[in-house]
Symmetry: C2
Subunit: 319 residues, 2 copies
């Protein structure tokens, strides 16, 4: 058993998170695909978080945060600013605990995403579409209600929750040579890195990142957090920058960030639909795109890939 790492979540924290969310979250399956193995020249094990509650790994972190609160804290509710999967995840986790969830979303958020949050009982507050307005709106709610902020990724409870995906994968598939997750704000990646360090220390940790949103790649390379400025990629779950809690973990435990362009992401997404017969969002396809583009790195290895979620807009498809 490895030593805990500074102030980072410990192995006990990760185990506590796994136990805490077990009654609420899904233990998602691991899938394999002979065709994709042949294309990669490696044995690929896909951890299917598209089958997680709300259709994304985000439920793990939100659930751990919500059920970590004391009764007194919980009674005042939770708040976050997000227009994506974290918003739905927090709303559902709060509803499971029977407490209010206040969700701040930019006015530009598609109505369908607002409706999804409200469908889980979340109380939506719209704000101007910029970071200052989001934070101000969240602070106003905190001042008025005493609700606890649950940041989408820069929160150790969230990181420990996301780590449970890799913890499960290591139980389901022993002896992985490598594990790869997509990176946006780094919640999933830092959780994956910690889980690997603690329970499968010989496994190398990789990340896949879109070329059009390569702030994490540059941040790790240069040893400082760059903001994500006008990112442009189909992988709309990976637009955010690393935070001061995710960056040090990523920096310390990551082998390499692999960049892929949107054409490679689209092609990988289509392979997953057509060959594995499952629905994934573009962000989920980034690790496969990275593995296929770096065949030499993974040749002959056992590689775990985290499929982060399946919430893709299918309206463009002919039905």
């Amino acid at each position: 058993m490895a030593e805990p790492i500074g102030a980072f979540p410990t192995l006990d924290d990760l185990r506590a998170a796994a136990a805490r969310i077990a009654p609420h979250a899904r233990r998602t399956p691991v899938m394999t695909c002979i065709t994709l193995d042949a294309m990669a020249g490696a044995d690929l094990f896909f951890k299917c978080e598209n089958f997680q509650k709300v259709g994304a790994f985000k439920f793990r972190g939100a659930c751990n945060a919500v059920f970590s609160l004391t009764e007194a804290e919980a009674a005042r509710g939770v708040v976050t600013h997000s227009s994506g999967n974290h918003a739905q995840a927090l709303a559902l986790a709060a509803r499971m605990r029977g407490i209010p969830a206040y969700i701040v979303m930019p006015r530009t958020t598609p109505a369908i995403k607002q409706a999804a949050v409200e469908g889980y009982g979340g109380r939506v507050t719209l704000c101007e579409p910029n970071q200052a307005a989001r934070e101000a709106a969240a602070q106003l709610i905190i001042d008025e209600t005493g609700a606890a902020l649950v940041h989408p990724y820069n929160d150790y409870r969230v990181i420990a929750g996301q780590a449970t995906a890799a913890m499960e994968l290591f139980e389901q598939v022993p002896n992985l040579d490598a594990i790869i997750a997509p990176v946006g704000g780094g919640g999933l990646l830092s959780g994956t890195a910690l889980a690997t360090r603690y329970v499968s220390p010989n496994t190398l940790v990789f990340a896949g990142e879109p070329e059009g949103a390569d702030d994490a790649f540059r941040s790790v390379r240069d040893g400082m957090i760059y903001p994500s400025v006008e990112p442009k990629t189909i992988a709309d779950g990976l637009l955010t920058a690393l935070g001061d809690k995710t960056f040090p973990i990523v920096r310390e435990h990551l082998k390499q960030i692999l960049l892929v362009d949107d054409d490679a992401i689209r092609a990988a997404m289509r392979l997953i639909f057509e060959r594995m017969k499952i629905v994934v969002e573009p962000s989920s396809a980034v690790p496969l795109a990275a593995v296929l583009a770096n065949a030499d790195t993974f040749a002959g290895q056992r590689v775990g890939l985290i499929l982060s979620g399946g919430n893709v807009d299918l309206a463009a498809m002919k039905w």
Copy 2:
């Protein structure tokens, strides 16, 4: 244990099929979805044959037929006429046994389907797009090679193979009140009916059929096999008519055929993509469409639905 039914495949035949294909076919998972349960007012259990080899239940029947042949028969190969999943299934099963598969396809078959069969090692013969030309082309191959004909559905070995999907489902989910499969030529449905009769006789057997291809509905109603004349439906796996081997089984053991229109099929297909995060072909969505359209029939029941396959043309989707 029920008695065997006339000349129909017996329970021993079904068990032999299950044992015969076990080393080659996938034991597919059963999925559930809380949202769809709520919509249906019933507990739905989806048998995911979209995850079967070649992406469809058809592999079960083709595999059972191919591995039922004697060494001498097998050495001469197998032949069929099909442009769909059965063609790919037979080609793969033949490759697994190391014997030739001759596949007769109409000239109008999309190149991608021809390539898929050839990708599994099948030898494609193109013919004019009518039934007489298909049968003549197949007969010519039989005369030349001595290959064994494996009909897509009107073959007891194929029916026994398809029955293994329901056999597995009953093992995976006990105490189903009802089971529902789509019906085209009736291979899957008659296999499902036999499996139910033998191993879960209290379960009612339903079929879903497109309104635009309702020949099985009329055939069962009137007690005679109607041909499928100019069928028109999005569910392109269900265009064929019942055969003289499938019809008597279906007729004897079926509770009801439920008709659904293409709008209902499209809506059900989209629900499966969006809510279950899996890829299915339109034919697979017919049972769910039927269950949702007949809520009173299934209210409060435990219902098994066979998702027949996942080979849908995704080219229409924006990537």
